[in-house]
Subunit: 459 residues, 2 copies
């Protein structure tokens, strides 16, 4: 797209933000220089967009005091809630904060555009004509083959291409499983004490109850499955075994074994959300739980953390008995996933570019985590970083009772972040005060500022 | 992908076809030359794959009698039903026929790969970083803007970007509408006497009843809506107004007016499936019904016929009152559509490449339709081509009672096609004998052969 097209797009986005009330009258906009850096566009593009919107009356500019949303620009706050997606797909912010340390997104500025385009050129040039038609609901065989090979090598998953079903991300995969479980007359899926409400909601929207497993230092208490009590009748359990989200522990081997024993004994299913299994900084990643019993574990992974959520590509590795049902649930053809993107990702993995990208991002995230730990040791020694050295987020334990005030203090510093309480299962008592810091989220240009704002907000 | 990668992919696909029983023991495979042409790959790639599979024992090759599936290669027929998608997403064929004139797909060999890759390069190079993150559930503003402008110009749709919601194709859009209608307590959506069962099934799966409108030479009898009788209580009606699928008539202006009057009078909604509105050969296309009343018509269109189904990109233009509900139904972020593809299509439309492609395909399809009409006039003078000169399919009226035998005769000629009976609403009596010929489906290399096979099958 030309600079002109970008400017128009930016103007539309800003007009809409004002119209919907997301940018309230009087709000000061970031300088054109800093917004340009954050968006990865030329400074002139932003400056031109600002000038245009001042001319149209949406914004005002005063010498020396920057650019503001005009007072008379009418808001429509009702729609603001979802006007713009947050880094984590949960809450919208009413005003765009200067910095975000919300978990759930990789560093989007590091998306390997040139390598991706190279893979797209090779894949689309070589693709057979039928690739552009209605596709197999399981997804392209090229991608299923590449994913099966990659997961076996990188995550210890026991996979063959005919057990892999491509989906548009974890939410799509979980939605398919919810549909299949309901058709099997399952009524309850156990979930972890802490997790994403959007995932719980996908299950409850499908008519499934979601009781919570207990939780301690060894991870989720999988031994509770099948015991007398609330967890007796569950047909499946959703686990983030390699790196609990958000608390950050790896599920203890005994707990892994207990989950598999339960599944084997009762015919239950384990849904393994391996959302960031590629990223471990202190040792080789723990292999996927799926390796223990491929017939009782549904493995779910995506390119959302390793590459970018905007690709909307994920994969399920299924027990044999589920392949038919999940394929059926997807529809008679693949109505969801783009064939060019599937072929491009297959080529990207097959050419080794995926491994190279993951290695380079691992170094980058590791450096950020080290910088976070060092900054806290110096400037907030009472705050402890817990959980394994892995993934794109860290958990910062806070003194008891201080979480809400720290989240509020961060907001005053222009820093968006989540306390752990945002992830608590509604049936679980508040049992800790902590922040969930997505250190992968900010672009490099904003990282130092975000870290500084965080330290200033901490007690 | 390299020739080596293609060969591996082809071998995997063939192994799987044998394993699942889709290719039965003894089946003769097409020659490597003709399969290479059909797949758009080098002949050596196919020959190498055949050689490899002979070495592995999956296939046998005998001098002079071609390549066959080995007798001992075990089949698993249960999975065969949906091992390979058909051109139209309805029935799977047990054995791949030599030719297909099934409707529902454009000429996949004409997908403009080079132009698409150019647009992808421009779009991805210029995209802001946030484009790779979780996106607005309505879709990228760049694409919504391009689509609104295009539809206004090409289809007379009254659209602004904030009324457009991107979806992964018609099925996704219809599924979202079904969900919204159910939440509004609508119980019935009227459909046309002839249409796709997959679309009816999407509605019934959501808990909606689908009574049929009457049908005659002027199109669907929209005057029946709201009259006493079965159609009294419907809350919405699904119409292919510009070019009824599959019968091929354009909805008469009086019938258009009656539908809009009904919608205005009752608060009902019209779901307009504008699946091939770009393609009319005898005159300017009739504008979309949506132009008559943007507040009562939900317009649905896709890139599946104009470009390729494999892109999984479509769009809805919504009445103001539905924007919130449909966005909500899509989820808190865009969990479906690939951002790179959305940006690429926006660039493809904005640069004029989309218009150029549609113009060039219009000439190509028109030529095919003319060739079909000429071949029938010469070789099957009793068969009449009906419906307007538009779209990617033609309807061939047959002498009463002959449809099943002609479809069977075509199968014996190695030609896959549908009789109109496959599209009949279950509540409608058989009232005609006809074939629905998708002349857009075959690649150029197979068109003459398909046409010849068709003529030989006709009475």
């Amino acid at each position: 797209m030309s600079g002109r097209g970008l400017r128009t797009g930016l103007m539309d986005a800003l007009r809409e933000a004002v119209r919907t009330g997301r940018l309230a009258p009087g709000t000061r906009l970031p300088s054109s220089r800093s917004l340009a850096v954050d968006l990865g566009v030329a400074r002139n593009t932003v400056a031109d967009a600002y000038t245009g919107l001042v001319a149209e009356g949406w914004l005002t500019a005063r010498q020396g005091s920057g650019t503001h949303v005009a007072q008379r620009a009418a808001g429509r706050p009702a729609a603001a809630r979802r006007a713009v997606p947050a880094a984590a797909p949960r809450h919208g912010a009413r005003r765009t904060p200067a910095y975000s340390l919300m978990p759930g997104a990789p560093d989007l500025a590091s998306f390997p555009r040139a390598e991706w385009l190279k893979a797209a050129r090779r894949a689309l040039t070589a693709a057979p004509h039928e690739a552009f038609g209605y596709g197999d609901p399981r997804g392209r065989v090229e991608l299923r083959t590449a994913v099966a090979e990659y997961l076996a090598r990188a995550r210890g998953v026991r996979a063959t291409p005919d057990r892999v079903v491509i989906c548009s991300g974890f939410a799509h995969g979980l939605g398919l499983m919810a549909k299949v479980l309901r058709e099997r007359r399952v009524r309850e899926v156990a979930v972890e004490s802490y997790g994403l409400d959007v995932h719980r909601n996908l299950l409850t929207d499908a008519g499934l109850r979601t009781p919570a497993l207990g939780f301690d230092g060894l991870g989720s208490r999988t031994g509770e499955l099948g015991e007398p009590g609330e967890l007796r009748g569950v047909g499946a359990v959703l686990l983030t075994a390699a790196h609990q989200f958000p608390i950050g522990v790896a599920l203890h081997p005994d707990r892994r074994a207990a989950a598999v024993d339960w599944a084997r004994g009762t015919g239950g299913l384990i849904l393994e959300d391996d959302y960031d299994g590629e990223f471990r900084y202190d040792r080789q990643p723990v292999g996927a739980l799926q390796g223990l019993d491929p017939e009782r574990v549904v493995y779910l992974g995506t390119a959302s953390k390793s590459l970018a959520p905007g690709l909307r590509l994920g994969w399920m590795v299924l027990p044999q008995e589920l392949v038919e049902e999940v394929t059926e649930a997807k529809g008679p053809v693949d109505w969801v996933s783009s064939a060019p993107d599937q072929l491009t990702l297959a080529e990207f993995i097959g050419s080794g570019a995926y491994d190279r990208h993951v290695r380079s991002m691992r170094l980058r995230y590791r450096r950020r985590r080290d910088q976070l730990v060092a900054a806290l040791a110096e400037r907030a020694p009472d705050v402890r970083v817990t959980g394994i050295a892995a993934g794109l987020h860290a958990v910062l334990e806070l003194p008891a009772g201080t979480e809400p005030s720290v989240v509020q203090a961060a907001a005053w510093q222009g820093l968006a972040l989540y306390g752990v309480d945002s992830f608590r299962h509604p049936s679980v008592e508040r049992d800790r005060d902590a922040l969930v810091i997505g250190y992968g989220t900010p672009p490099d240009s904003a990282w130092a500022g975000a870290l500084d704002a965080l330290c200033r907000a901490l007690p």
